[in-house]
């Protein structure tokens, strides 16, 4: 055995060690461009969010077929717990999603989520629940897609006002020239709940209608909780309730459920919701729901999708909708009423 041979063995061994440290590089096949989107909703049972997600998925499917790309959309349910949602965001970041759309459970915790995404350079799109401006300004690749909550309140106010003014006798059951109303509010602290409540009443008052609040309470956007609340109020106030103003359609439907359960459909007051979800539209057609303000999930989903698409494939934010301050996309609401009543009120659009 010569010295040379020894060195050869040594070299071989070193080579092996080196090789073992390196992963074999995979060769790039011709792939379809791919985009991984995570959509995190605070609670998947929320009907309106369900429609947004559906619309987003449909948009993604359409784009897949049109442009021969792959878009994998993972929808995750926060189950009403910010801890769960934070875990899901971490998972998305860990699995290197291209873009993450977040419907926060608690809109006050946006800061830490933005920081995490920033560290991983993954664009974030918040939707439906708007983090405060200060948080959104932490990073330039953070966007918000939603509606102007204030507007929905105003529209809701106008809707009720117009209906009432056109036909006061029909709504003013006790003929006291006042509207006795109950208010079902969304989750405490949600910007939409606050603004919708505030502006619907303010608009009504500004229209010169005297409002008389019987009671208001939060039902957490929740149909069954709303039904529970409503049935209690129904017991308490009975036919005195003239208007039921709800921050969203689910709660409006809950109120209707309460009337149905109490078998007091004939007493059904003037119930309005916001969002225009499919079950609400059914109720509208059925005649139980008086009116709603269409929160345009199609457009919101479209805007979100366009944002995602352009961010991933073009590296910048682009959309058919105006991008305010480079961060915000606000979609307008549309009031929707029962066909029979529409004749008189007309379609009020801003």
């Amino acid at each position: 055995m010569g010295k040379k041979q020894n060195w050869m063995i040594l070299c071989c061994m070193l080579g092996l060690v080196w090789l073992s440290g390196c992963a074999p590089s995979s060769q790039e096949a011709k792939k379809v461009p791919e985009m991984k989107v995570g959509i995190l909703v605070y609670r998947k049972e929320d009907t309106f969010l369900g429609t947004i997600v559906e619309a987003f998925e449909a948009a993604a499917k359409y784009a897949e077929q049109q442009e021969n790309i792959k878009i994998s959309v993972s929808v995750m349910d926060g189950r009403g717990s910010q801890a769960v949602q934070t875990g899901q965001i971490e998972k998305c970041i860990d699995q290197k999603y291209d873009v993450i759309c977040v419907n926060l459970v608690d809109r006050t915790v946006a800061a830490s989520i933005i920081d995490q995404a920033k560290a991983a350079q993954i664009p974030l799109i918040f939707f439906n629940r708007e983090p405060v401006k200060e948080d959104l300004e932490r990073w330039d690749k953070v966007y918000y897609v939603g509606a102007v909550a204030k507007e929905s309140g105003i529209l809701q106010g106008h809707l009720i006002a117009d209906a009432y003014l056109n036909n006061p006798e029909r709504f003013d059951k006790n003929n006291d020239q006042k509207l006795q109303y109950v208010m079902l509010e969304g989750e405490q602290g949600h910007q939409d709940a606050l603004l919708r409540t505030e502006y619907s009443i303010r608009t009504l008052v500004s229209e010169g209608i005297q409002m008389d609040k019987l009671v208001n309470d939060t039902a957490n956007w929740h149909r069954s909780q709303a039904a529970t609340k409503m049935s209690q109020w129904l017991e308490k106030y009975g036919n005195a309730i003239e208007v039921v103003i709800c921050n969203n359609d689910d709660m409006a439907l809950g109120a209707i459920d309460a009337y149905k359960a109490a078998k007091k459909l004939e007493e059904l007051p003037f119930i309005v919701g916001i969002d225009g979800t499919p079950p609400a539209m059914e109720a509208l057609a059925e005649g139980t729901l008086y009116g709603t303000i269409k929160n345009d999930e199609q457009k919101q989903a479209q805007a979100m999708f366009q944002l995602c698409y352009s961010l991933v494939f073009h590296g910048k934010a682009e959309s058919d909708y105006t991008l305010e301050k480079g961060k915000y996309i606000f979609i307008n609401y549309l009031p929707v009423e029962r066909e029979i009543d529409k004749v008189s009120t007309g379609n009020k659009e801003q």
């Binding site: 717990s81 439907l253 459920d257």
Partner: protein
């Protein structure tokens, strides 16, 4: 066994010293390193285990604190609901819905529902949902029965699906129910009922998720019967995809235990939660605990092996340093054994070995010198014998003697001629004595007598002579031709210039341990300085006759019998000379004579 050991020892004996040394060193060193390594390692491991155990205890303790305060907050909801709301409320006058609502909203994150039932199971009020399902039978459910059987306590149920209220979202939640018996007031009359607080798992989960026990350790919660309340992998256990040792764990005391479950050793830390009797169980697989230290294990192992390797090399070096000189020395000695005396002896290594080598070297030198001496001696011996012999057949002596005989015959002094011839014949016969060097003192004396007879006849009675010997000396051994040269010396040097009548006396007798033969003359004597020169080897002394004669005798005696024997010369000018031959007393034997040796 003993046999084997014997064999082993045999084997080692056969191995050379270097291998043996290095093996022994390595063995001892490796054993030491191993011992130290292992003991350190064991210490480290136990310390590590203790630390882990302590850490886990603390973690479990913390979770316990968290869980305790969490459960207390839920119990507080129940307490407030009962003692502050229900007790103060007459159901006929007013409801308690708003208070209940408040409580619910305040604890919305951890509660699923609060509900109050009458004893028969009918719903009094509930938040947030209040439509009882048609199929719901609260009075048949465990939490309800618990509450009514033990009315003084609060009861926590095992996880179950909340199925009481209609939910438009088709939501089915897993809850833990907290139930208690209550009294409802209806217009002053009391009626018993049950208060239910359903809590979700968010709070518990957060507590348990955030507490990490190592990489794969986890915490779970069981009730006192061992039924699982919360487990990070609850559904997997519910579907039998995984197993948990919860039934056994229920019997554990608080503290740490080592258990074996599904072939895996794991450390279990148990803490019982107050009031509920629930137990928090922290589980850490032992393998996981050691995985953290795996690197250290490898490192220690590496160090051990590396040290052993180093020691091996070092020992090889040291033992070769020690053993190589010995081996070299041994090799030299082997050569010596084979008879090569002139090869150099390897000297090196430590002081002792060097000394050993040096000693051997000087020994060998000595030996070599001795051997050379012997060779020289032998040569000298032969030479002196040869000289002696040659002097016997001194042509002048023979010529003169024959001349005398001729003269005697011419003068018809036949008597004298006969004596002369006889003496001459005797002289030569003994002088040759069949080539033997050793003869009896008697023969030697006869020889001397023959000689002196011849000489006295030749010198016409210029001197007289007398030979005396004790009878016991006659059978003793001597080398031949030692007296005749002395006589010759006496005749030629003692008698020649003597005016008066010369007298030569030979005495052989025993003296002490020695045998003395004195040759005495009354000649002119020998000067003192000459005496000293006479016996010296290197003195070149050529005079009449032969000084060689005396020296030759002296050397031959010493050669045969040793330095202590030989000639002594005592002389007094004009008085005479006595030359004494000192010999050992040895009986003559034929063998020794043939071999020609005495020593």
């Amino acid at each position: 066994m003993a046999n084997k050991i014997q064999k082993l020892i045999q084997y080692f004996r056969k191995k050379n010293i270097r291998v043996l040394l290095s093996m022994c060193f390595t063995f001892v060193a490796v054993a030491g390193v191993l011992l130290i390594g292992t003991s350190l390692f064991i210490r480290f491991r136990t310390a590590n285990e203790a630390t882990v155990e302590e850490t886990h205890k603390r973690i479990v303790e913390q979770v316990n604190l968290g869980l305790d305060s969490y459960l207390r907050s839920i119990m507080k909801v129940s307490d407030v609901m009962y003692f502050r709301v229900i007790k103060n409320c007459d159901m006929l006058e007013e409801g308690f819905n708003s208070d209940m609502n408040l409580l619910y909203e305040a604890n919305r994150d951890s509660l699923v529902s609060i509900a109050v039932f009458k004893r028969d199971g009918s719903l009094v009020d509930a938040v947030p949902l209040a439509f009882l399902k048609q199929t719901a039978h609260p009075e048949k459910q465990g939490w309800f029965l618990d509450a009514v059987t033990k009315i003084e306590n609060l009861h926590f149920s095992t996880p179950h699906v909340q199925n009481l209220f209609n939910d438009a979202d088709y939501r089915y939640r897993w809850v833990v129910s907290l139930s208690r018996a209550i009294e409802l007031t209806y217009g002053g009359k009391t009626e018993s009922g049950v208060l239910l607080v359903d809590m979700n798992f968010t709070g518990i989960e957060q507590l348990f998720r955030n507490a990490k026990l190592g990489d794969t350790g986890y915490l779970y919660l069981i009730n006192n019967k061992g039924e699982i309340i919360y487990h990070p992998r609850q559904q997997l256990i519910y579907s039998n995809l995984e197993q948990e040792n919860n039934q056994v764990a229920a019997a554990y005391e608080d503290g740490s235990h080592i258990e074996e479950f599904l072939g895996e050793k794991r450390m279990v830390t148990v803490k019982t939660v107050g009031y509920t009797g629930w137990k928090i169980i922290g589980v850490t697989p032992m393998a996981d605990m050691w995985k953290d230290t795996f690197q250290i294990h490898i490192f220690v192992l590496f160090i051990l092996l590396f040290t052993s390797l180093l020691l091996f090399v070092a020992n090889g070096f040291i033992s070769s340093k020690i053993a190589d000189p010995i081996l070299e020395l041994e090799k030299s000695v082997k050569e010596l054994e084979r008879g090569y005396l002139d090869i150099p002896i390897a000297i090196g290594g430590t002081h002792e070995i060097r000394h050993l080598g040096e000693t051997i070297q000087s020994m060998v030198q000595q030996m070599r010198k001795l051997m050379e001496d012997i060779v020289i001696q032998q040569e000298e011996k032969r030479k002196s014998e040869f000289d002696a012999l040659q002097s016997q057949i001194h042509p002048h002596f023979l010529y003169n003697t024959l001349d005398s005989i001729v003269w005697m015959v011419e003068n018809e002094r036949y008597e004298e001629a006969i004596v002369m011839v006889t003496s001459l014949a005797g002289f030569f016969r003994i002088g040759l004595s069949k080539g033997k060097n050793i003869i009896t003192v008697e023969d030697e004396l006869k020889h001397a007598k023959n000689y002196i007879t011849i000489q006295s006849m030749r010198f016409r009675d210029r001197f007289t002579f007398q030979i005396d010997a004790q009878p016991e000396v006659l059978g003793m051994a001597t080398i031949k031709l030692i007296i005749q040269p002395l006589l010759e010396n006496a005749v030629y040097h003692g008698m020649e210039y003597l005016d008066g009548e010369g007298k030569i006396q030979v005495n052989a007798y025993l003296h002490g341990q020695e045998l003395y033969i004195d040759v005495i003359d009354n000649g002119i004597g020998i000067p003192q300085e000459k005496i000293e020169e006479l016996l010296k080897r290197d003195t070149i002394h050529r005079g009449k006759g032969s000084g060689i004669g005396l020296r030759n005798v002296h050397e031959r005696i010493q050669c045969y019998f040793g330095e202590e024997y030989g000639l002594s010369i005592y002389s007094e000018p004009d008085e005479g000379t006595m030359i004494r031959i000192r010999l050992p007393q040895k009986q003559y034997t034929e063998d020794a004579a043939v071999r020609g040796e005495f020593l």
